[in-house]
């Protein structure tokens, strides 16, 4: 990391910490959701951006994580912070298992399989044999955690800091994972799987691992999201969630860690802007925003930022 980057990061972090004391509780809640989406997008980016496996069904893992948290808290009385690693672990296993058959599927076929997973998710959550745990169509309402140790922050602020801490941890982990051997192996598989294989990369293992880790991230996000929203129901996790996640990583920037944050800002705030512009057809406005971003920044916001920085640097020289 260069010195400017370190300074930039420190500034960003300070701003992130100061944020809940400057803006209203409602805004704090919104930024908590941005962080939640950022983790989910980072997860999807590991799979799709770095490893080249398209997933149109990551909402399923988000839902799994959310339900893990809700069931643990509501039915078993677990404290909220326990549910985060638990949701991550469950999703890691689920993602890894889903990744095994998915190894045989490429491109479109993988897209279909994951799309199917995304479409089937609400149906599975409603399934009457699981109703005892999932609450069926009614979903589960969960309580909001209060700040511990008598800290002088309210519940919204506390949840924001908690989420921020988890986000930092997850981003640090991803950064360590992706810049090293594992990251290179994932990208080698994406760019040329035969060449990667012949260089000794264990394709099958890495690909299913990518699925598992990606699901872990998304599951952790799901659990945090459930705690923030205080409610899970099948309708929260329909196919549009999966599609929005995909839109998020493309708009934010594929194969880029910072892209996850840009993407999260996009999927959190742009629909609200669209709604402000037109009640008659908010989706049309949202679609135009999507197209506009892709036109102006085909490699995502992260790609555009990179390009801009590179250009400035070359000017300085």
């Amino acid at each position: 990391m260069s010195r400017t980057n370190v300074i930039l990061l420190a500034v960003l972090l300070t701003a992130a910490c100061a944020l809940p004391f400057i803006v209203s509780n409602y805004r704090t809640f919104q930024f908590t959701l941005v962080l939640v989406y950022a983790i989910a997008l980072l997860g999807l980016n590991i799979l799709t951006g770095y490893n080249g496996q398209i997933s149109l069904g990551h909402g399923a893992f988000y839902a799994l994580g959310a339900y893990c948290a809700a069931i643990l808290m509501d039915k078993m009385g677990a404290p909220y912070w326990v549910t985060i690693p638990a949701a991550g672990a469950v999703c890691l296993v689920a993602g890894f298992l889903f990744g095994l058959p998915a190894l045989r599927l490429e491109g479109l076929y993988l897209a279909l399989a994951t799309f199917a997973l995304g479409v089937a998710t609400p149906q599975l959550l409603k399934y009457h044999h699981l109703e005892k745990w999932t609450g069926g169509v009614q979903g589960i309402v969960i309580a909001k955690p209060e700040a511990p140790f008598g800290l002088p922050v309210n519940a919204d602020q506390w949840l924001y800091f908690f989420t921020l801490a988890v986000t930092l941890g997850m981003f640090l982990l991803a950064w360590n994972l992706l810049r090293g051997r594992i990251g290179r192996a994932l990208m080698a598989i994406r760019d040329h799987h035969l060449a990667a294989e012949s260089m000794g990369v264990h394709n099958a293992l890495y690909k299913s691992l990518a699925f598992g880790v990606s699901a872990l991230y998304t599951g952790v996000a799901g659990a945090l999201g459930a705690i923030a929203v205080q409610f899970v129901a099948p309708d929260s996790f329909n196919i549009f969630l999966s599609i929005m996640l995909l839109v998020g990583i493309v708009v934010g920037g594929l194969a880029s860690i910072s892209g996850a944050l840009y993407g999260a800002l996009f999927i959190q705030f742009v629909p609200n802007i669209a709604d402000e512009i037109s009640k008659a057809a908010p989706w049309a406005i949202f679609g135009i925003f999507m197209i506009g971003f892709v036109y102006l920044m085909p490699t995502g916001v992260a790609g555009a930022v990179r390009l801009l920085l590179a250009r400035r640097r070359s000017h300085e020289i």
Partner: protein, 398 residues
């Protein structure tokens, strides 16, 4: 006419003492009353979005006519795409940033469930929610939440009772949408049949994403059922009516109120195929020729033409939105100058036989401190190939 006069008198009587002192909570002032709302203007449930639009249009009309007790209504409506997390976000925006006096007609059972706890904790009224689930009438545990329309369970119970009375040896087949709405109806139906639940020979479900319900209808026919309870939303209701007719299945057909619009369900299905269907109603169906010369429906048409010209007049949701907006206007009129959240709730629980003229004759809105279910009455009706014929008594209520 007479009853509305009485209500008017009562409103004056009630507001008189409040005139003396003006009391305001956030969202109310001498000039304005701010009301919040969420509706699905985008996404797969956007068919309901027209409710929010017709309410917006109603307040526009009201403001042009001088508002309520001299105050303009500022109706702030946000899109939640029928996604509960978004509803939570929007409800918080309405309460914490826009500082509305209360939220009104937030739409959808899951969406309202998501904010149920929050609204009650914040003590901001969650008024006249747009869902027929039964849980909104719970003044003890959730004193800040109130429903409006007749709940699904009591409607289903009315059908069950009718079946027990007219066809005690029936073999019943049920088609229901696999979500909270379908299951609520199903529960009410089971409760209504009570010990005779075994009369149901087959229950089949469908998903909103299914292209057709043809396979389900064939399954029901094959089960030998001679009574059909049809718990479906408009598109699937039309498909079910047509398919049952086409394959020659002629059960006694009960159709839920959600989908009994002549214009947007029975006409597409084919009026001749819908003869004999039994349903229930509490609103006047503007597409039913029976109300062609009705004064209230004529006024509604004028309103649509002037304030919501884009709106579809064959869509029963537009009558719904208009009627529920009239109800809240009445509540606010009763509040007078005491526009606190507590008083809004108290007046909403103090409607005594209020009558919006777009309701069916004989149906009134009544609430009290331990009754948070404004409309509890429905009347059964049978389709004769041209229009709905009401029969029997107005059911439910006190």
């Amino acid at each position: 006419m007479k009853s509305s006069f009485v209500v008017g008198l009562m409103a004056v009587a009630l507001t008189a003492p409040a005139m003396a002192q003006k009391k305001y909570d956030p969202g109310a002032s001498d000039k304005e009353i701010r009301i919040g709302n969420t509706n699905p203007y985008s996404g797969p449930a956007s068919a309901y979005g027209t409710i929010g639009k017709s309410i917006t249009a109603y307040f526009k009309m009201l403001n042009e006519q001088g508002g309520i007790n001299g105050r303009r209504v500022n109706f702030i409506s946000y899109d939640d795409g029928y996604s509960p997390p978004r509803t939570v976000e929007m409800a918080r925006k309405l309460v914490e940033q826009d500082e509305v006096l209360f939220v009104f007609q937030t739409l959808g059972t899951p969406s309202n469930t998501a904010i149920h706890k929050y609204m009650n904790m914040k003590k901001v009224p969650q008024m006249h929610v747009a869902t027929g689930a039964t849980k909104w009438n719970d003044p003890k545990n959730h004193p800040w939440t109130m429903g409006w329309q007749p709940n699904y369970q009591s409607e289903a119970r009315a059908y069950a009772q009718h079946i027990l009375k007219t066809k005690p040896d029936a073999k019943i087949g049920v088609l229901y949408q696999n979500d909270d709405y379908g299951k609520d109806y199903l529960k009410g139906f089971h409760d209504g049949l009570g010990a005779k639940k075994s009369m149901i020979v087959k229950e089949v479900s469908y998903e909103v994403a299914d292209p057709t319900v043809d396979s389900q209808i064939v399954q029901l026919q094959q089960s030998g059922a001679d009574v059909f309870f049809n718990i479906t939303t408009p598109k699937f209701a039309a498909q079910a009516i047509r398919k049952a007719y086409d394959i020659g299945w002629k059960p006694v057909h009960y159709l839920n109120n959600v989908s009994n619009s002549v214009g947007s369900v029975l006409t597409p299905a084919g009026l001749d195929k819908a003869v004999g269907i039994i349903s229930s109603a509490y609103l006047k169906d503007a597409t039913d020729s029976k109300w062609a010369n009705d004064k209230a429906i004529a006024e509604w048409r004028q309103f649509m033409n002037k304030y919501y010209p884009d709106g579809n007049q064959a869509d029963v949701f537009n009558v719904y939105g208009y009627t529920v907006a009239m109800t809240i206007a009445q509540v606010l009129k009763q509040c007078g100058d005491n526009l606190t959240r507590e008083n809004v709730m108290r007046q909403a629980a103090n409607l005594k036989g209020y009558r919006a003229e777009t309701l069916l004759p004989g149906i009134t809105i009544s609430t009290s401190g331990d009754d948070f279910a404004p409309i509890e009455q429905v009347q059964l009706e049978r389709f004769n190939g041209k229009q709905w014929e009401l029969f029997g008594e107005v059911m439910g209520g006190r």
